[in-house]
Subunit: 104 residues, 2 copies
DNA sequence: TAGATATTTAGACAAATATCTAAATATTGC
DNA sequence: GCAATATTTAGATATTTGTCTAAATATCTA
């Protein structure tokens, strides 16, 4: 419980929303291999830079990625802390092991 | 393995989309305690039965819930198998521990 | 079988979303 | 300072989504 619960309720929605789009999931996966500039990330996708930037903004709002300007470029990297929070959240949606909840 | 990768790509999108809505996440959480009829689930929410039914359809399409008719009622329960698939998928989005120079 | 209850389906509508083009901002190298 | 490159912002548009009301379907009970 390091964070206020309200913080997480808000952030939670941002995170799930961010993950709902296949392009954004692909971006995260691409970042899996290491930090990359916006342009490099974009090479893998067939959409404009503007659209890409839109996706970055949503990922950033969800705190799933971090940015750092390096000269002309802006370098993106995964924020694994929030990813781990998300995992915990997911676990919360899964019934307890050996759980009842089936037929009666 | 076990499932074709195409199956999962399709299902994956359905699952993430299903989780993007806060009402649907709340439904899953409610089912956490055990199977429940549509009406019982609905008691917790301030939306019409029709809207509820819409959410159920999306959860079902994502295979996150199972249904069983019991007389007049239709009983919903969690499908933890797909939830576990989802967890694996999430892990896939998280960078490997100690990845890329960063020991912990 | 008729009426009551539970749930889904159909159709409409407003709000949210992904995408685009064009323009703005930031940075580098000459 | 100026042109080139990288990225974001603004504004427009078509699609998707969540919700509603009304009607349809399924089941139970008297």
């Amino acid at each position: 419980m390091g964070r206020s619960s309200r913080w997480w309720v808000v952030k939670q929605q941002a995170v799930f929303r961010a993950l709902a789009d296949p392009t954004r999931r692909a971006i995260l996966k691409r970042l899996h291999g290491g930090a990359m500039s916006a342009g490099e990330i974009g090479e893998a996708f067939d959409i404009t830079g503007a659209s890409l930037s839109h996706h970055f903004a949503i990922l950033k709002q969800a705190d799933l990625v971090r940015t750092e300007r390096r000269g002309q470029y802006i370098v993106y990297s995964l924020n694994s802390t929030v990813m781990e929070d998300l995992m915990r959240l997911m676990l919360d949606l899964i019934p307890p092991a050996g759980g009842r909840g089936g037929k009666r």
